[in-house]
Amino acid sequence: MKLQRMNRRALALGALAVSGALALTACGSDETGNPGGGSSNAAAPSNIKCDDASGQVLADGSSAQKNAVDAWVKQFSAACQVEINYKAGGSGAGVTAFTQGQVPWAGSDSALKPDEVAASKKICSGGQGIDLPMVGGPIAVGYNVPGVDKLVLDSATIAKIFDSKITKWNDPQIAKLNPDAKLPNLKIQAFHRSDESGTTDNFTKYLIATAKKDFPYEGGKAWQAKGGQSAPQSSGVAAQVKQTAGAIGYFELSYAKDGIKTVAIDTGAAEPVEATVDNATKAIAEAKVVGTGKDLALELNYGTKADGAYPMVLVTYEIVCDKGNKAETLPAVKAFLRYAASEDGQKILAENDYAPMPEEIITKVRTTVESLS
């Protein structure tokens, strides 16, 4: 009975793997605590209202807000018995997973499109998917030019650099904006995203809104301009900028660390505007709510010349059903979003290089979160 022995072996092997794995469960642990010890806001959990939230929540979406969600989850799961599992697969993946009913909540860097809203009606019984602006983020233009510590650019030069029309750092157009800088005769290595991304979408939206002549493309999540190099994810672009002399690239401000310097933008305001969270919040405050009903989709004012308003911003929406959320996940999602929109939740954003929502908008978000059903 050799075959049976064979199958027995296969069975035994599989059984061994499974039972071994199960046996291992006993000694494994989710209690990772906080060995990094870096977080300063350990007091926050007491303010979190858990209600009867429990279980596991899957979520997918924008990688731009990943660090923000990680920080929230850390606080939130310390207070409530909920495992929030946010996979930063990207806005597109998040929206698709949401409209297919795979996740009860998704993060996206752009508001739902009409056909996506239509698709969401299938899974939100009696309701539809809505956009809740929750996280703002300045898109920083990071650069790596030896000997240049301050760099000012305007939208036209940025457009030309990323469209390979300006190819040297000592180009007169850059020199004109930076009369004091010692610009080297170095080739510009412009890095863009190799994957489709909401960051690219918002970055090009800004360029198209303010420098259409120099950036003659339609925009969208996929990079369209010619030339330059690419890397996957914001972290990839930031890593390349850090390694490569002469590099410039765009990513969320939270990725601009470990010595990456960021460009100040000459918007036409009195002073060039630095990429900081405060400046981004000021620009978001200029946005109009264009969503109808409970939907709070925003229209950003990229052309703003207000002093200290950094116009190149990205708003990440949390997408949920206004009505007809799945009963088993609703309490957890609601409690989590309530925490995220709370003062504590928004305060954590600034600590992680994200821009909190302006007061006027976040108040509306809080009301909407409470009304979710």
Binding site: M1, K2, L3, Q4, M6, N7, R9, A10, L11, L13, G14, A15, L16, A17, V18, G20, A21, L22, L24, T25, C27, G28, S29, D30, E31, T32, G33, N34, P35, G36, G38, Q56, L58, D60, K66, N67, D70, A71, V73, K74, S77, A78, E83, N85, K87, Q100, G101, Q102, P232, Q233, S234, S235, G236, A238, A239, Y255
Partner: protein, 352 residues
């Protein structure tokens, strides 16, 4: 040579020609490495690739010239090929050794009992700490279930092809097993994903197992087929001649003879799918927490964990990615070792 040994003793040179001493190749190698280093230093070349290349060229040329002078053209050619083969071997060893070395060196940095027995929990990418327990668990369960599906189906299909297979059905199966080997792993993942969407299912570990089983089946069929074909026909004929039914012949004679090879094949295919990332990425979702139930809820897996940690771009996450890589390699290597052990242990005493 049938003449007397005295003749050979008198004129050994005509029969044997000149001959380089045994240590000659080593001397030439050492000399060319030294020269290569010297030339690079003199010319101010920095790259190790450059001096190694110069040394390699010098070695090959030097061997040819010296051997051609002392011995003859044919011997010289032989020696050049010998040194080329050695150079090729060393050339290949460098990256492979570097791969193993860097994985071990960087992987051991955070690899400890804590790392193996804890999940990521709420540790963010930029923080230190966290572990891969949840990922190991997920991989073991997903791969174990995939094997439970793919191994019997694969072995039975191979038996059908080799022992029974005649006619159109067998030809079609053979052809499509070939086609199936060519399925990009991400496509297998897409296929299962579309089924899941059809039945409105959430991501769970077993979905990953199904995709992995699709990838594993043709490999098992192919390797088992090869092994069954190696069984000499005389064995089958002898058994059938004794009046043993065909199915018992297969079970009692054919399979035992090839069992070692079949097991090795299955183990190797397990090792192959254990490292698959793409389908797992689509189907099991990934998780930072422990989930021991492969039939419900998102699970993690080792290759997916490596990909996600690499993707986050943080230095601390890179360390974890290397440690997870080391664990994954160790897992695969242990499977290989066990497979070979079984192959040797179960090998029939005849036919070797």
């Amino acid at each position: 040579m049938s003449t007397t040994p005295s003749l050979a003793a008198k004129r050994p040179s005509t029969l044997r020609g000149g001959h380089l001493p045994k240590w000659a190749p080593w001397a030439i190698a050492a000399g060319s490495v030294a020269l290569g280093l010297g030339v690079s230093a003199a010319a101010g070349l920095h790259s190790s690739v450059q001096w190694a290349l110069i040394a390699a060229i010098l070695h090959v040329l030097g061997t040819y010239v010296i051997a051609a002078r002392v011995e003859n053209r044919r011997q010289a050619k032989d020696r050049v090929v010998t040194s080329l083969v050695w150079v090729a071997f060393l050339l290949a060893v460098v990256p492979l050794a570097s791969l193993v070395w860097s994985t071990v060196q960087r992987g051991t940095k955070v690899l400890d009992v804590y790392f193996l027995t804890h999940s990521m929990g709420v540790v963010t990418d930029a923080e230190t700490g966290g572990g891969i327990y949840h990922a190991i668990l997920g991989t073991l369960e997903q791969v174990g279930l995939a094997t439970l599906i793919a191994a019997p189906v694969g072995v039975l299909t191979a038996i059908y092809l080799v022992e029974y297979g005649r006619g159109n059905l067998a030809r079609a199966v053979t052809f499509f097993v070939d086609v199936m080997t060519g399925i990009p792993s991400i496509v297998a993942g897409l296929f299962i994903l579309s089924l899941m969407l059809m039945f409105d299912m959430q991501p769970f570990g077993f979905a990953g197992s199904l995709a992995l089983a699709i990838l594993m089946m043709p490999v098992v069929v192919r390797s088992t087929e090869e092994m069954l074909k190696l069984v000499p026909n005389e064995l089958r004929e002898a058994s059938l001649a004794l009046g043993v039914p065909k199915w018992r012949t297969i079970l009692k004679v054919v399979l035992p003879t090839s069992l070692g090879g079949i097991t090795t094949g299955i183990m190797l295919s397990i090792a192959r799918i254990a490292g698959e990332t793409a389908p797992v990425l689509l189907l099991v979702f990934g998780s930072k927490f422990i989930n021991a139930n492969p039939f419900e809820g998102a699970q993690a897996s080792l290759p997916l964990y490596i990909y996600q940690q690499y993707g986050s771009g943080e230095v601390t996450a890179y360390d974890r990615a290397w440690a997870a890589s080391l664990t994954l390699i160790a897992f695969v290597m242990i499977l290989n070792l066990v497979a070979r052990g079984i192959a040797r242990w179960k090998a029939p005493k005849t036919g070797r």
